[in-house]
């Protein structure tokens, strides 16, 4: 057991625990109101929003999985970089509109907006359901990050005793989320990012010194991993796979409830716009972190006998922790591992808050107890956030990890099906709520079927004419969804024009 690392790790963890509870008193608001508990009172300025959304999108799982993909699959894993290049123009153009209309109408979730815009509670239910379903496996995967670093420090992670550290971490997380709401992850995100930046800078400096420069590092990478495979004749091969994975992931990202929560908690549409320009700093860090996968190859951690057991248990996900342990003194290993574990707490907290908001607003208040008071609503959300975290914990303990990975892949395919209702809905009222609902259903079922039929590989070998165009399943299903939504909207609007009311006004959007 690595005692020094464990002590540093535990101290940092205790510090953020204290911070999480202390956050309830920060920019004090009435936590019996959902927008106070679940959106921090929409009061976060440019600086805090930067940390919050950064902590929200660039999760612990990302820090483990992206380098692990580079380590295992090579250049393909770098799609995370073009993906994050494309998200910010979208954030700049589209989401300030959502902020504005949500601010004026008191919306807390994207389903709230859909409900108001199309006056169709079933479409709102579909959007809410999709958001909750897509986020659940994401929360579960955050636990994997914590599990890997705890295991790497030599703490037993099998059996009930082995599950204990994770349970403790999640009880702490659940408690401060319950008492402080979104203020807790917003505050902790600052600590998390400082730790992550320090770690990444240390790696980026230390590794080239260790292996003798970036040239030597890349020279150690097998040719097959260094670049994407050149496509065969009559095929776009890995090129279209790479491009569509990046584009589809980018379109899906800001539709997740936790992303929407991050956006809506900011204090103005301008804060959202400003953040579109400054959040790319995280993408640079992500790019450098992706290269850590290659550094692990160059340093040769997989061949080191002391890490054989770790790779056996956690496969490629162990490549990053192994690299840290191979290069850094024990105390700094503790810092780096704490960065990853705290990096899991922040998004897990925001995700559970976002799904709790969605359940409470769009399922509980809409369908189960329309007469509930604002205080009931907030209370319900707090309880649901506990249930969701318990569910994620059970998920990780009771089911094979592979299920969480499959569901997370499906989550992306599902959440992108809300593009027509949410993103197109921000620009046009001409679409019909029922048409959107049918389009959503077809996209959802088609995408799920394609992923399953494809043995859970995200890229489908699409044939256009005589040419093969491997494409991310989510995009194919989305195109079908949009076509159906548009065509049926024309039909429905012709049959019964202007029957549904729009509860929003044009000036709400700017």
């Amino acid at each position: 057991m690595n005692v020094t690392a464990l002590v540093v790790f535990t101290l940092l963890f205790l510090f953020v625990t204290w911070l999480g509870f202390f956050a309830a008193r920060w920019r004090r608001g009435d936590l019996d109101l959902l927008h106070e508990w679940g959106l921090g009172g929409r009061r976060f300025g440019t600086f805090i929003t930067w940390f919050l959304i950064g902590g929200d999108l660039y999760t612990a799982y990302t820090f483990i999985a992206v380098p692990a993909l580079m380590f295992g699959a090579g250049a393909l894993g770098f799609f995370a970089v073009p993906y994050t290049v494309m998200i910010y123009p979208l954030l700049y153009i589209v989401f300030p509109r959502l902020w504005s209309v949500a601010h004026k109408r008191g919306y807390v979730t994207s389903a709230d907006f859909v409900r108001g815009r199309f006056h169709n509670r079933w479409l709102a239910l579909a959007v809410a359901f999709t958001g909750i379903l897509a986020t659940m496996p994401y929360i579960a995967l955050q636990l994997v990050g914590i599990q890997v670093v705890i295991g790497a420090m030599g703490v037993e992670t099998s059996g009930f005793i082995g599950d204990l550290p994770l349970i403790i971490a999640f009880v702490i997380l659940a408690a401060f989320t319950y008492t402080s709401g979104l203020r807790a992850p917003a505050m902790i995100a600052v600590v998390k990012d400082v730790l992550i930046y320090v770690t990444v800078i240390a790696v980026v400096i230390a590794v080239p010194i260790h292996v003798g420069g970036y040239g030597k590092m890349f020279a150690a990478i097998p040719a097959a991993k260094l670049l994407l495979a050149t496509p065969p004749a009559n095929s776009y091969g890995s090129f279209s796979a790479y491009g569509t994975l990046a584009l589809g992931s980018a379109m899906a990202l800001f539709l997740y409830p936790h992303s929407i929560t991050g956006i809506l908690s900011s204090s103005s549409a301008r804060v959202v716009r400003r953040n579109a320009a400054i959040l790319p700093a995280y993408s640079l860090m992500l790019g450098l972190l992706a290269l850590v996968g290659f550094m692990s190859i160059a340093v040769g951690v997989q061949a080191m006998p002391e890490f054989a057991d770790g790779f056996k248990r956690y496969s490629n996900n162990f490549s990053v922790p192994a690299l840290f342990m191979a290069l850094f003194p024990d105390w700094f290993v503790g810092v780096a591992f704490a960065a990853i574990a705290i990096g899991a707490l922040v998004p897990a907290a925001i995700m559970s808050i976002a799904t709790a908001n969605t359940y409470t607003r769009n399922i509980y208040r809409e369908f189960i107890n329309p007469a509930c008071t604002d205080a009931d609503e907030s209370k319900m959300a707090k309880v649901v956030s506990l249930v969701i975290k318990a569910g994620a914990l059970v998920f990780i303990f009771a089911l094979p990890l592979q299920y969480a990975l499959w569901l997370q892949l499906l989550g992306g395919v599902w959440i992108i099906q809300t593009v027509p209702s949410v993103i197109l809905g921000l620009y046009t009222r001409r679409l019909n709520g029922w048409a959107l609902l049918i389009g959503w259903l077809v996209g959802f079922v088609l995408g799920t079927w394609m992923v399953a039929a494809n043995n859970f590989a995200p890229v489908w070998p699409l044939q256009i004419g005589g040419t093969s165009f491997p494409c991310y399943v989510a995009l194919i299903a989305l195109v079908v969804n949009i076509l159906i939504s548009v065509v049926l909207s024309v039909v429905f609007n012709a049959i019964a024009p202007g029957k549904e009311q729009d509860l929003t006004l044009e000036e709400d959007y700017s």
Partner: protein, 70 residues
């Protein structure tokens, strides 16, 4: 909600500037243009540094559009 807060003033979109925001999409989706090891930069293959440079270019474009529309 009546608002005198300057942070809540509506933004006037500058359309020609917003069209610049398409550039990152074109650059990143044109994969064959950058799937190459050369030219290297400080030992880093083109594929890697080129995409990282686009992170910066797109951030600069967004900041530029923001300044124009302020």
């Amino acid at each position: 909600m009546s608002d005198s807060n300057p942070e809540h003033r509506p933004v006037r979109p500058v359309i020609w500037a917003r069209l610049l925001l398409i550039l990152p999409f074109i650059a990143m989706l044109w994969v064959s243009s950058y799937n190459s090891a050369t030219p290297e930069w400080g030992g880093i293959p083109f594929f890697y540094w080129y995409q990282l440079v686009w992170v910066i270019i797109s951030a600069v474009i967004i900041a530029f559009v923001y300044q124009l529309e302020r």
